[in-house]
Point group: C2
Chain length 236, copies 2
DNA sequence: TCAAAAGTGTTCCTGTTACACCCATGT
DNA sequence: ACATGGGTGTAACAGGAACACTTTTGA
């Protein structure tokens, strides 16, 4: 056992950069959507880095707040993306050159990154995205019709969609995607959009109400032809 | 938007070291056990670092193989441990000094670490742990009577136990902890140990067999008083 | 009074739970 | 034969799936 030897060959091991990417999920016009930022010709997920004073979870919450101003969003860890070739030299070079900016191979952003992906469920109507220093615009992109994405961000988005399907089997989280008051048909439609399959209305409603999570408000009046649905909100 | 500015304040962000820790779980004498390595006066989880050529998952598999010689173990990601004060200056200093080795504050192992914890389910009888360069011994420690642990490794172990409880509700993974041939009473006892609660024998057996994962071998002969149980193995 | 959309009820089926009972074997 | 421990069966119950029915309201 030679501890000094162990310590001095520390750089035999690569210390990858560590980033955080956020998949901020919303729902509008019967479509699941994802907040994307425009960087040059392609789009990317909002993200950032960890500061000295922060835990990893705190960093994700800060980045979330910087981007959306939301204080206590539904925010969960998704998974680690850490393939050995996960570095973006060519992507950055292309971007810099098309923008007439100098690019240097030694920029730290060219190194390999391991990223911790988080996902958040938000109500689009009350979320006001801020664009950052590099990105020019934002969009709530339809999950099923994503634009060209930088790096491996399309892969991350694909995996969050599968995770969502698993989540709603076990726990009630989807109301985070809706306004404070919503109807059962709306919640029903949302679940069908997430699962991409038809759900029996009767069973769905009974299942939702049996959780005891929701409370019924007076029935909506005169909004649409036919019988109008009750409004619900989350208890507490 | 000033990209140069963005690039040059890269070190405003801390780049934490990234490590991997393995919780290698076994089962012996009706107790769930965890492979620990002795380092000085306390114990720690086996772990390591990521190499340039490796994805994060490949690194965990390599470390697993280095420690146990197992080629295709059941190995899954647990979670990220990344609290802001997750650095082990004092721990390392104490260890070095009690071992009469020089300790320097600038050693890379003193910096903050974010660790990716993985867990693995193995059969203790066919797993032959190797001790590394620093550690002096190994043990299969009872989950419910852990020795003093370095750093936050006790926290990691606590969280893997909860994960296991969740896992066995959804999928059949526990046979990884048993020899290639096992009896239903053994599997039953194992599940009770993991869940820390009694499970109805009849229901348990029917549930296991209804998965279609197991095939029955000839009944065990003359091993113990009373009727002897059938042996099963995983199909395939 | 009919169509449209919401909401409720009925039946069938499956899987869970708790418990009773039957089988094999050593003492 | 009986105690011990493995293995199987059954009745009560809860939850899921499919579908039929009722309610509300505008045209």
């Amino acid at each position: 056992m030679d501890m000094i030897d162990f310590l001095e060959r520390g750089d035999e091991y690569f210390i990858p950069n560590l980033s955080i990417d956020l998949v901020i999920i919303g729902y509008r016009d019967k479509k699941l959507r994802c907040l994307l930022l425009k960087l040059g010709e392609k789009w990317m997920l909002p993200g950032g880095y960890i500061r000295r004073s922060e835990s990893v979870d705190e960093a994700s919450a800060r980045i979330m707040k910087e981007r959306t101003s939301l204080e206590n969003p539904y925010l969960r860890f998704l998974s680690v993306f850490g393939k050995h070739d996960r570095q973006f030299r060519e992507e950055w070079k292309e971007f810099f050159e098309t923008n007439g900016q100098p690019w240097k191979p030694e920029y730290w952003i060219n190194n390999r990154f391991v990223t911790l992906a988080y996902y958040s469920l938000v109500n689009i109507a009350t979320t006001h995205p801020a664009v950052g220093e590099l990105d020019e615009a934002f969009t709530w992109a339809d999950f099923d019709e994503l634009p060209a994405m930088w790096m491996d961000h399309a892969t991350i988005i694909a995996s969050v969609r599968e995770r969502l399907k698993e989540d709603i089997k076990h726990e009630q989280v989807t109301y985070n995607l809706l306004p404070g008051q919503f109807t059962m048909p709306e919640l029903h439609q949302l679940h069908q959009t997430i699962l991409k399959e038809d759900i029996d209305r009767s069973r769905f409603q009974k299942k939702m109400l049996s959780t005891g999570l929701f409370e019924r408000l007076p029935r909506l009046q005169k909004e649409a032809p036919g019988r109008n649905p009750y409004l619900y909100r989350v208890k507490g």
